[in-house]
Amino acid sequence: MTRGNPFRPSSSRRTLRAPRIGDRIFFVLTLIGALGVVAVLIAVVAALFHGAQPALQQYGFSPVFGRIWNPSDYVYGFVPFILGTLVTSTIALLISVPLSLGAAIFLTQHAPLWLREPVAQVIQLLAAIPSVVYGLWGLIIITPLMAADVNPALASYLGWTGLFGGPTNYGENLLTASIVLSIMTVPTITAFSRDAMEAVPRSQKEAAISLGATHWEVTRRSIVPYARSGIVAGIVLGLGRALGETMAVTMTIGNRNAIPTSLLSPAQSIPSLIATDYFEAITPNEIPALFEMALILLLITLAVNIGARAILARLALGSGVGAE
């Protein structure tokens, strides 16, 4: 690299960029970063397989269908925990998605300008609260409320659905954990939906209004379809958080290692079981079984992510760019 002649045509292929050592180093560093991330994923999965190996050898994947978990009898069934994980996450999203969409629509379409930023900031602050704080809040505030008022009310008014049967005096139950999880997922879904809705071009909205659409029609026909992929991305992230949440669930779900009989019965989720059981695991295959369960959780999260990506891709293809 001679200083005097920066435009020296060294070779025809290199006319645009001279080979600089700094660029090379930067390239290698970024490559290491990228490979490192992949390596960590592989290492984590390998460690799970390694830990689960004794259980896999002895039971294969039959525990996935086992209905009873009783380590002292050497019975390891995962159904109660898979069920607990899926049910709490699903109910959490059923609560948080409408809430978050409502918040996002209000913040982007209806709220006066001076109000938008502060409210959005407050919603995002929810995401900064550590999960153990949510757990404490659930344990101290929500749990007694559920036991004293909500459970009996649900049982007497909605008992006919069969979802709210059994004893009503347990404040720590599936529904309590779901409620805490729903509040934890609101900021994620709201932030993504709001950003997506904010990205909708003005012309899109104005075109709909000029056709005589009401507020509701503008939102439904014009804003939401355009922002769909952003909203779905937010929901997927929220679901990921709900599936993997450990601390807040442990503190509010009741840690009962059996299949729940209703939404008001104490239950257990996969991450919560692993966290509570690991250090007091007694019987020979209990820890490998916990590892196998971690593997199952990883598969569930992976399936959810891939599925959601597929939906996302299809939505983007199908709807194109909202209304033409």
């Binding site: 009783n70 994620t188 950003d195 983007a316």
Partner: protein, 410 residues
């Protein structure tokens, strides 16, 4: 937790989404295929590796082990296990100066698996080894050393009720079976005359993890109730018919403290140090006993257990339901496990000098100085007969077949 961060930063959606939107028609499918391909490759590698036996290595990588178990420094010892005995163990290692003694309060189960995998010099558990655990212990096997005594007590959260509520084994079993669901029931009222019991549903709290306290508690319920005995038995983990689970003695204490109308069970020292109301329990003589060090000690004395051989099966050793009129009925030993021949067990990773240090420490624990630290922390000191038994056991520990020279500090 990465999702938390994604939520905190404003931009994640905005620019990436709008560009994604524009490119999506062509790029979406490609990205998806790439993701699926990477996942498939990873799974193939792992399945292949699994089949080829890549992941078979030595034991003991469970992560529960306390680091630096087999320290090269001769005078450093390490143990792990029971949380129940941890306060006493920490006290012992603090005042014992002849060796540096490390103790990890990781739980009885982890204590047993750590001694099985030889990652510690001694393991501690509130429950004896069960038959499969004994079989899992590698040669030359371990000795069982009862080293202190605790007791399980029923704790409850009933505002407005003072003193110690009375319980029988039958009542406790009915509550934990889910047969007795209201505090204001006739069986409980009959044994608590003059107490106004609330008309409230009982919230049952039990351990969610494997626990020596659960072992003692379920043994007591099994002795009192035939249904409990045949259906749930006694063990460190129980497939509980009702109730919510909490982790550790501390977790049960806290859950009961914050839950109205709750009942739970913890070791006596957790009830006393946290100031939680705990019940009197009826003993076989018909008396209602409020647990304290004196009546737990007399229970252990009156139970008059004939210990098995140190390497024998301790699973059925119990000091519950002792015959004395003033004995507390739910007392329990807590145990240490040490290999019978330290040289054969640990090979070159334990020097003779470390083995000497270990044996000296064990003798000091069961000796007069070690036991004098028990009572202030609400543990019951061992009886002289048990001390003699333990001393004989510890003296029988060898190093490559040869007796170990001992020198116990005062």
């Amino acid at each position: 937790m990465s999702s938390t961060q994604a939520g905190t930063n404003t931009p994640p959606g905005s620019d990436s989404d709008s560009t994604m939107m524009r490119r999506k028609k062509g790029g979406g499918r490609g990205v998806m295929i790439a993701v699926v391909a990477v996942v498939v490759v990873i799974i193939l590698i792992l399945v292949g590796g699994y089949a080829a036996g890549w992941f078979k290595t030595s034991t003991g990588s469970g992560g529960t082990g306390s680091g630096g178990c087999k320290s090269p420094t001769p005078a450093t010892l390490s143990g792990a296990g029971s949380t129940l005995v941890a306060p006493l163990m920490f006290q012992w290692s603090a005042v014992y100066t002849s060796s540096t003694v490390g103790y990890s309060s990781v739980g009885s189960g982890a204590g047993i698996s750590d001694i099985t995998s030889k990652t510690v010099d001694y393991g501690a558990s509130d429950a004896p080894l069960n038959p499969p655990q004994r079989t899992a212990i590698p040669s030359p096997g371990v000795v069982t050393i009862p080293e202190s005594i605790g007791a399980a007590v029923p704790i409850y959260n009933l505002p407005g009720i003072s003193g110690h509520l009375r319980f029988t084994g039958q009542v406790l079993a009915a509550i934990y079976l889910g047969d007795m669901t209201n505090w204001n029931n006739s069986a409980l009222q009959t044994i608590n005359p003059g107490v106004t019991l609330p008309n409230a549903n009982i919230v049952v709290v039990h351990r969610s993890d494997g626990s020596g306290t659960t072992f003692a508690w379920s043994s007591f319920l099994a002795a009192a109730n035939a249904t409990w005995k045949t259906t749930y038995g006694h063990s460190t983990t129980i497939n509980w018919p009702v109730g919510i689970g909490a982790k550790g003695n501390a977790g049960v204490t806290e859950t009961v403290q914050v839950t109205s109308d709750a009942i739970g069970y913890v070791d006596i020292n957790y009830a006393l140090t946290n100031g939680v109301a705990f019940g009197a329990v009826q003993n076989p003589s018909g008396n209602y006993i409020v647990a304290n060090i004196t009546n737990i000690a007399s229970a252990v004395k009156d139970a008059n257990v004939v210990f098995p051989s140190p390497t024998g099966d301790w699973y059925n050793v119990t000091v519950e339901n002792a015959p004395g009129a003033q004995d507390y009925p739910i007392a329990t030993y807590t145990y240490l496990f040490v290999y019978t021949d330290l040289g054969k067990a640990y090979g070159s990773s334990m020097s003779l000098s470390t083995a000497e240090n270990l044996v000296n420490f064990l003798l000091w624990i069961v000796g007069p100085t070690g036991q004098s630290y028990a009572a202030p922390l609400y543990y019951v000191p061992l009886s002289p007969a048990t001390v003699t038994y333990d001393t004989t056991t510890i003296d029988s520990i060898t190093y490559n077949g040869a007796a170990i020279t001992t020198c116990v500090p005062s």
